[in-house]
């Protein structure tokens, strides 16, 4: 009986136990299932998050990483490497050239060479045959070598240096810092510079349309050196009717410019003002007008001369006009340029002030890609000096303030040949009748050539 009871009990309990065991198993399974479900949900959430992130990465919204990556990828040099490699593989000369390419040393520092300034050298060789007893020039002369160093200094300024080497030694022709990011559209320069007086004064020798400078510059505007001094310059484009360019420039200098200005005292600074107006008439023609004023302490005629006082000043008034024609479709073949520049000078000296006037008129026409012809007429008074030995008695200094009677007159004919845009050969026949009654009759020639990257000259 007992055995039956036990057996029955077991039989009765067994299902329960089994059921309980099954329940436990089911619970576990369910728990596992739930855990798995939660895990799947979590993974699903992560997947969605990643999808969204990927979408954002691919987004072209400004500032989006995808936009930045694509922008950067656009800028990667492409193809050229394969092209170069292919060309080298096919061209033995290119292979040899590539093999002979100079290695760069210094590793990381060699990249700094990219910040070196643009360097250029201009050679200006002169020659002359003929006769000129008043202002003689050597038969053959390497007249000038100009070395230019030009670069951007920082986001706010650039610097330009022009060092001139000639018979008289080495000098800094110009060296100035230009501030290009000033407010109100101002452009300021500080350093040593050619003054903005007229057109010719601002031109370097290599940019002249002639071999020499005209008589008005030699007599009244400090010769080849010109008004060239240490100082400050500020310019601004002014409001003007549509289509008209109007620019004002104001400059202050130390006050030393060759035989024109000399600062006897610290307060003897020189001033220059320039107003430029420009207008396009058509796409091929334009007119350029300028008004200039300069004032500084008079320089004595000679170092030991006493013809000026501490209050003696020299004033210059200038007017320049330029007409250009250059058809855009044939700009390298034909062009015409006519210019004139007038200068009035008033020089205070002992015992009286002198007035003088001079002008130059010239024109040049481009015949074809390589040849240009031109002509120049210039006439200028010359200030009389205490040294009368070179003068005829009839040309002696007048006894009162008046226009000087000493006048030089000149005429030139020019022919220029351009083997390429980096070199030129120029011939100039020059006739001059000087105030002393003597004539100069010369044929001059010039070889001009450029090495390196010389910056463009102002228009």
């Amino acid at each position: 009986m007992r055995r039956v009871s036990v057996l029955a009990g077991i039989l009765l309990l067994l299902p329960g136990a089994l059921a309980a065991q099954q329940t436990a198993v089911d619970t576990k399974k369910e728990e596992r299932l739930q855990a798995l479900e939660e895990r799947v949900r979590a993974l699903e959430a992560q997947l969605n998050a990643l999808k969204q992130e990927l979408q954002a990465v691919r987004s072209d919204a400004p500032g989006g990483l995808g936009a930045k990556l694509e922008y950067a990828a656009l800028k990667l040099p492409t193809l050229a490497v394969a092209e170069v490699a292919a060309s080298i593989a096919q061209d033995p000369a290119a292979q040899a050239a590539a093999a002979s390419q100079l290695p760069t040393y210094g590793g990381a520092s060699s990249a700094s060479k990219a910040l070196n300034p643009d360097i250029s050298v201009i050679g200006n060789f002169w020659g002359a045959v003929g006769r000129n007893a008043v202002r003689p020039v050597p038969t053959l002369e390497f007249h000038e070598t100009e070395i230019a160093l030009q670069a951007i200094v920082d986001p706010f300024a650039r610097a330009d240096f022009f060092v001139s080497l000639g018979r008289e030694g080495i000098e800094l022709e110009e060296g100035y810092l230009t501030f290009t990011s000033l407010p109100a559209g101002l452009v300021a320069k500080v350093g040593k510079m050619r003054a903005a007086f007229g057109k010719v004064n601002g031109m370097h020798n290599d940019a002249l349309p002639w071999i020499d400078r005209p008589l008005v510059v030699e007599n009244l505007v400090a010769g080849e050196e010109g008004i060239n001094d240490a100082g400050l310059s500020v310019s601004r484009i002014l409001p003007a009717p549509k289509g008209i360019f109007l620019e004002a420039t104001g400059q202050i200098f130390r006050g030393d410019s060759e035989n024109l200005f000399q600062a006897a005292q610290k307060k003897d600074v020189a001033y220059v003002a320039h107003l430029r107006g420009y207008r396009d008439i058509t796409e091929s023609t334009n007119v350029d007008l300028g008004f200039s004023y300069a004032r500084g302490h008079s320089a004595p005629f000679a170092a030991d001369s006493s013809d000026v006082t501490p209050d003696s000043n020299t004033e210059l008034f200038g007017l320049d006009a330029t007409f250009r024609w250059k058809p855009l479709r044939r700009a390298i073949y034909h062009s015409f340029l006519a210019r004139t520049e007038l200068v009035w000078s008033r020089r205070e000296q002992i015992p009286f002030a002198q007035h003088a006037f001079g002008f130059v008129t010239s024109a040049e026409y481009r015949l074809d890609r390589r040849w240009t012809i031109g002509g120049r007429f210039d006439r200028s008074a010359r200030f009389c000096s205490a040294d009368l030995s070179m003068l005829r008695p009839s040309n002696a200094c007048p006894g009162r303030a008046t226009n000087v009677g000493l006048t030089d007159t000149g005429f030139s004919a020019l022919l220029t040949y351009w083997p390429s845009e980096f070199s030129q050969i120029r011939g100039q026949y020059r006739f001059a009748r000087y105030a002393e009654g003597r004539d100069g009759n010369e044929l001059r020639f010039q070889f001009l050539f450029v090495l390196g990257a010389h910056g463009a000259h102002p228009f």
Binding site: A97, T180, G185, P239, E283, I332, Y333, R369
Partner: protein, 317 residues
């Protein structure tokens, strides 16, 4: 008299100073709701207009029929540059002969060279060909040491440049970014369709040999499958010499080259003389938008040139 001159000079100087200072506060005028974009060439202007739409005002300094190497740095260009929000340049020293003094004198801080907020060099987006290897000297003529700058004459580069301009505009005007994107997408789609059309037209003539006057066409030639075998210029930027012209004629006869491509700003005398002696045809191809009146956008530039090439090659069979 002395007092008179002194008074006159002081008055003139004071007037000038007052004039400069009095206008010192005047802000440059431009449409407040549009970006004012200046480009150096008409092609960049066309691409900027494509992606900029009515949110930009675009002007080009050079004309389409003008040699972009020899643009005069006229003061009238300063009036445009001083008010520009964005200056887009071709780069690779194409504008080195005239642009730097314009930028310096403009007094516009936004465009003062690479790194400035409103300066964009399009060459950074393009595939550049003919990058010199080995020593580079002027014995090679007016060589471009950084590669050939006429890269816009490949529609793929046009697409890349447009993309770069679109991103720059979006960076400058985030509120209009979606608009610029839409404009670019439309341009890219139309360009893709146009390229298919040009490919069909030019397919029969792939591999044809041509002579060009200057090295303006490597990108176009590569894209259209043309083989540039020589140049009318003996070196880049050097006028044709009698000796080189004789050698060119001999080569053209030997290689049966029947087409000479010339840019609109070069003299046709030597090319026509060569063509007469070789039985070839001179084709004045336009390198830029605006080269002819009917070339008013980037698409019409290729339509015009492909049409001329097809006619020339058809006649040369």
């Amino acid at each position: 008299m002395k007092r008179f001159w002194r008074g006159l000079s002081v008055s003139a100087g004071a007037t000038l100073v007052l004039l400069v200072l009095g206008t010192a506060g005047a802000a440059p005028a431009y449409a407040a709701d549009k970006l004012y974009v200046i480009t150096t060439t008409t092609d960049l202007a066309a691409l900027a207009q494509e992606v900029g739409g009515d949110r930009v005002e675009v002007e080009s300094i050079a004309r389409g029929y003008q040699d972009p190497h020899f643009v005069e740095a006229k003061p009238s260009f300063l009036l445009k540059l001083r008010k520009a929000n964005l200056l887009i340049v071709v780069g690779l020293q194409l504008e080195i002969g005239w642009l730097p003094p314009l930028i310096s004198q403009s007094g516009n801080p936004r465009i003062q060279g690479p790194g400035a907020a409103g300066y964009l060099d399009a060459s950074q987006f393009a595939q550049i060909l003919e990058i010199p290897t080995g020593a580079v000297t002027r014995a090679m003529g007016d060589v471009h040491p950084l590669g050939n700058p006429h890269y816009w004459l490949d529609p793929e580069n046009g697409r890349r440049i447009a993309r770069g301009i679109q991103m720059k505009l979006a960076e400058m005007r985030p509120a209009d970014a979606a608009y610029f994107q839409q404009r670019y997408d439309s341009f890219a789609q139309r360009l893709k369709e146009a390229e298919q059309r040009w490919d069909v037209e030019m397919n029969p003539y792939r591999g044809r040999k041509v002579v060009t006057y200057h090295r303006s066409w490597p990108n176009l030639a590569k894209r259209l499958g043309l083989n540039v075998v020589d140049y009318v210029e003996p070196r880049a930027g050097i006028p044709p010499s009698p000796r080189h012209t004789v050698e060119l004629i001999a080569m053209m006869k030997r290689e049966n080259v029947k087409v000479i491509l010339v840019e609109p700003y070069f003299d046709l005398k030597t090319p026509q003389s060569v063509a007469q002696q070789t039985g070839a045809q001179v084709v004045v191809l336009m390198p830029s938008v605006g080269g002819e009146k009917e070339i008013t956008d980037y698409f019409k530039l290729f339509d015009y040139d492909v049409n001329l090439l097809v006619k020339a090659f058809s006649a040369a069979r």
